[in-house]
Amino acid sequence: MTFPSEPEAVGRDLPRRDGAVKVLGTATYAYETPLANAAYLHAVQATIARGRVTALDTAAAEALDGVVAVLTPGNAERLASTEDRELAVLQGEEVAFRGQVVALVVADSSEVARHGAALVRVEYAQQPHDAELRADREDLYAPESVNPDLPTDTSEGDVDAALAAAEVSVEETYTTAMYHNNPLEPHATAALWDPAGEGFLTLWDSTQGVHPTRTALASVFGLDEAQLRVVCPYVGGGFGSKGQPHVNVVLAAMAARAVPGRPVRLALTRQQMFSLTGYRTPTIQRCRLGADRDGTITAIAVDVVELTSRIKEFAEQSGVPARMMYASPNRSTTHRLAALDVPVPSWMRAPGECPGMFGPEVAMDELAERLGLDPVELRIRNEPAVEPGSGKPFSSRNLVGCLREGAVRFGWAERDPRPGVRRRGDWLVGTGVAASTYPVSRMPKSTATIRREGERYAVEIGAADLGTGTWTTLAQIAADALGVTVALVDVRIGDTDYPMASVAGGSSGMTTWGSAVVEAAGAFRAKYGSEPPDGAEASGSVQPADDRHAMHAFGAQFAEAHVHLDTGEVRVPRLLGVFAAGRIINPRTARSQFIGGMTMGLSMALHEQSVLDPRTGHVVNHDLAGYHITANADVGAIEAYWLAEDDPHVNAMGSKGIGEIGIVGTAAAVSNAVWHACGVRVRDLPITLDKVLHALEERPRH
C-alpha cells in the first residue's frame, strides 16, 4: 500500500498530543518514575585530567547516616564488555579526563548521596595532561572515517593549481567553539533489577532511543536483550546528547544490581553534564575558495582540525557539507584530529553540517564581497546539476528556490552591499545570508505494529519524542496510511516492549519510523481489508532507501544584525529562514523545529562557548550562568517558511528530516550580517563585542 498523494491528516497543524500532560506537569520523566523505596546516586568525579587513582577513602561516606553503598573500581562489578571505554566505568584506576567518574555513592536520599560523594577522599598519581587544540600540533592524525562512516578526505581535480590560477580567491581560517548540548532535562536514569542477580533489568532512561540503549547496555552487562527493558515516554530535550547511552545509564544499572530488589535513581547535575554527556568538538576550519571574475567557483578546499578524546574517537564530519553544496571542478576536504585528555565528544544537533557550514558560508560571503557580486547571486551561480562527488541526481534540490523566496520575504533587493554605512540610532545595521543543508537519512531497521482495538487503531513502535512531535506526527502518518481519521489512532512509543525502532538522530526519525508505519499499514490492509476484526494485527518494517538519488534538504537563512556604536554589543533583531524539506507532516511541530534550530544557531553565533581551561582540562563555565545560551531578550522576530516540495524518492510520505537543518548556516548568516553592519569579519565564534570593538575605536562616531 502506498501513501495517499493528497493526505488528510498529514500536513495539518494538529496540536501536540503530549502537550496537555506536559503543561499540567503530569508527564513522567525518567527520574520521576514512581518507584517505592528508591535509592539515590551521586557520582564522585576525578579532579585531574590524566593519571591514576592511588587511594580512595570511602570510610567517611560509608559512615554517613543514609549511605547504602559506595561503589569504587575496587568493589564495582566487572562489566562483560569494556570495549566502549566511555561506558567502562569503575573498571580500573586510570583517569583519562577531568570529571571522569571514580566512585558512586548510593544513599537513601539525593541530599545524602551528594553529601557522601563530597566526603569521598581520592588521591591520585597525576601525569601531565594535554588538553589544548591547535592546528599546528604535530600529532594530528587522520581518522579512518568520519561520523557516521564517511570518508575522511576527498579530492577531485587539482585544488592548488586552480587556486593559483583563480582570478579571485579567499583563504581564511574560521573557528567554532566547544559546545555542550545542555537539554533542559539533565541525563537521568532510574533502574531496577527484578528479580535480582541474573534476572531482569528495567531502565527508565531519558534517551533518544530505547532500543539502541538496550543494545548497548546488554552488551556492556553481557545480558540477553530479552533480560532488559528500557522505557522512555518523554524526553526533555537531547540535541544528540541522549542519542547514545552515557555513563549515567551504566552507573544506574550497576548500582541497582548492587542493592538487589531496590530501585535507584540518578540525575546528573548540570555541572556533571559538562564532562559526562558528550559535546561538540571545537573546530578549526581552513577554507579556500577560488573563482573566475564572473563568480564561477573553480576550487573549494576545506581542511578541518578537531579534537577527540584519547579513550574514544568521535570524528565530527565538519568538512562534509563542502563536498556537495556548490559546483566546482576542483575540490578537496580533509579532517584531522588531536586525541586529547578531555571528555568524550559526541553528537550535537547537526554534527558536521552545523560547524561545517560556518567557515564555508562566511567564506562565500567574503568571495562575494571580493567579486562585487551579491551573495545570493553567487550561490545561485554555483548550483550543481548533480551531486558533486557522487554524480547522482538530486531527488530534489531547492536551494535556489529558498534563496529567492527568502530574499523576497526579507527585502533583500533593497540591500546596499557596502559594509558599515547604515545607522539607526546608536546602532550600526547590517544584513547577511547563508545557506543551510542537511542530508535525508533512513536507518536500516525499524518495525511498527498496527492493531485494531475495538473501533480504534493502535500503532506501536519504540520511537522517541524528544519534544519534537513524534507522538502526534506518527498518528498523522498512520491515519493516512490506513485511510482513517487521525482521532481513531493511538500511538505508543518509547518502550522496548514495542517493536524495534532506531535512534532519534540524524533527522532520520520520521523517514525511518514513518516508513515502518506505512509498511505496517499496508500489511494490515492487505491482510484484513477495510473491515478488520477486533484484535487484527500486522507489522511492517522500513525498507532500504533509494540509492540512485542524492537526498538532502536545503534552506536559506537571512539575518539582520545590529552592532552598538559605543559598546560593540551585537543584537540580532530578525532571523528569517526558508527551507525545502519535502512534505511537511505537521506545520506546527515543524515550525517549532525550524525556529528552535535557528535560535540554537543564533545562540552559537553570539553566545555559546564552553571554556576549556587547558591547565586543568576542565570546562570552567560549567553551568547555565557561565555557559550562555540565547535568552528570550536576544531573540527578536524569527520567521520560518518552507517551500512546497514534492519529492517522490525520499520515502512514502515525501518528507525530509527537519530537526537539524534549522541550526545549519545560522551562525554564518549572523557573522555575515555583522560584517555588513560594522565592517568586521568575525571568523571566530562566538561573535562577542570584544571582537568588533577595535573597529569602533577607529571609527569616527558620526
Binding site: D566, T567, H607, V611, H618, V620, A625, A631, L689
Partner: protein
C-alpha cells in the same frame, strides 16, 4: 550539600547574637546566592540563621529627605518604588538590569551587596582559590579572565564584585546601617566592600555576625538625572562585563557636578572620583567624557588569560562612560 542546623530567630538581635557566637554560622536573606553556594560546597556553614520577617521591609522617608530602605525589601520592590524611580533612576535601572524577575522577587536589599563573586574558579571547589581557601592560590590568574578585574586587583585575587545595585549605591553616597555584636553603626557604602589585597577571603568591612538592617539614600537633586548602563554578553540575564552608574548636573553646556561608579571591573563597586573631578567645570562633550574615563583608568591593568584576557574592558569602559554621560547630558555632540 553538608547538613546544617537552621534557626529562625525571634528578632534581629537574636539573629546577630546567634551568628556572632558561632564562627560557623551565616545569615540567610533571600537565599538566591547562599543556597547555590550550599549546594556547590562553596559555603559549608554549620548553622544557617534565617532573616525572613526580621528585617525592616519598607522604604521610609526621613526628615532630611533621605530614603531609608529596609534590608528586607525585595530587589523588585525597591526597583518599582515610585520615589526611587523618580529621584534615583540609576538605582531602579541597576536593579532591573540584574538577574531575572523571579530572582529579584526573592533577593533582598541586605543580601544583594553581600552576594559573592561569580568568578568561576571560586564557585568550583575543585579548583584552587584564595578567596574560598586562603593560601591555595588564584586559579583565575592566567585562566579565564573575561569577567575579571582591571582595577584594584592584587596578585592574590582578581575577582570582581557582581552586584549591579551596589554600583548605583556607591555612586549615590548611600550609607549602610548595621546591627552587630557591638551595636549599631553606619558605614559609607563605598567603604563596605574591600579591595582584595592579601586577604581576598574578606569581601567587606563587616564583622562576623554584623547584620545589614537598612541602607540610607541621602537626598540629592543630582541623582534625578542619573542612569545605569550595563554592558553584557547577552541582552538579559547576564552579569556585567562593565557597567557605569552616573549622575550629572549640566548648566549652560558645562558640567557642574557628577557622581560616577563602575561595575564589573573591580573587587568592589568602583567609585570613580578621579573621573568626577575631571568632569567638574568641563564642557559637556565627548572629549571631556573620554578624558574623565582616562583619568580614572590610568591605573587599569588588564588580566591576561584565555581568549585574549580582558584587555577589552578598558576601551569598553571608556566608551560606555562616554555614551552614558552623553545620553545624560542630553545632547549628542556628534
Amino acid at each position: 550539600m553538608k547538613p546544617f542546623d537552621y534557626l529562625a530567630p525571634a528578632d534581629a538581635a537574636e539573629a546577630v547574637r546567634s551568628v556572632a557566637a558561632n564562627p560557623d554560622a551565616v545569615f540567610l536573606g533571600g537565599g538566591t546566592n547562599l543556597v547555590d553556594h550550599l549546594k556547590l560546597g562553596v559555603a559549608e556553614p554549620g548553622l544557617v540563621v534565617g532573616l525572613a520577617g526580621l528585617l525592616p521591609s519598607g522604604i521610609e522617608e526621613l526628615d532630611d529627605g533621605a530614603l531609608r530602605i529596609g534590608a528586607g525589601v525585595s530587589n523588585s520592590d525597591l526597583a518599582a518604588d515610585p520615589r526611587v524611580r523618580e529621584r534615583f533612576p540609576v538605582l531602579s535601572q541597576a536593579l532591573l538590569s540584574g538577574a531575572s524577575g523571579q530572582l529579584r522577587n526573592m533577593a533582598t536589599v541586605g543580601g544583594n551587596p553581600l552576594q559573592r563573586t561569580r568568578c568561576v574558579y571560586f564557585q568550583d571547589v575543585t579548583t584552587p582559590c584564595n578567596k574560598r581557601e586562603p593560601g591555595s592560590g588564584c586559579s583565575a590568574i592566567g585562566g579565564w579572565t573575561r569577567h575579571h578585574a582591571v582595577l584594584g586587583a592584587s596578585e592574590h585575587c582578581i575577582a570582581v564584585h557582581p552586584s549591579d545595585m551596589a554600583v548605583a549605591m556607591a555612586a549615590l553616597d548611600a550609607r549602610v546601617r548595621t546591627l552587630g555584636p557591638a551595636g549599631e553603626r553606619a558605614i559609607p557604602f563605598v567603604e563596605l566592600h574591600r579591595l582584595p589585597g592579601d586577604a581576598p577571603e574578606r569581601d567587606t568591612a563587616l564583622e562576623h555576625g554584623e547584620l545589614i538592617t537598612a541602607i540610607d539614600l541621602p537626598a540629592q537633586p543630582i541623582a534625578r538625572r542619573s542612569a545605569y548602563h550595563k554592558v553584557r554578553d547577552r541582552a538579559s540575564y547576564a552579569f556585567a562585563l562593565v557597567s557605569v552608574a552616573a549622575a550629572i548636573e549640566v548648566e549652560g553646556g558645562v558640567i557642574r557636578d557628577a557622581r560616577i561608579a563602575f561595575g564589573g571591573v573591580a573587587h568592589a563597586p568602583w567609585r570613580a572620583r578621579r573621573a568626577e573631578e575631571a568632569l567638574r567645570g568641563a564642557p559637556a562633550s565627548d572629549g571631556s567624557y573620554r578624558a574623565a574615563a582616562d583619568a580614572e583608568l590610568t591605573d587599569a591593568r588588564p588580566a591576561e588569560g584565555l581568549d585574549g584576557g580582558n584587555a577589552f574592558k578598558i576601551p569598553l569602559l571608556r566608551r560606555t562612560l562616554t555614551a552614558t554621560l552623553r545620553d545624560l547630558a542630553g545632547e549628542d555632540p556628534r
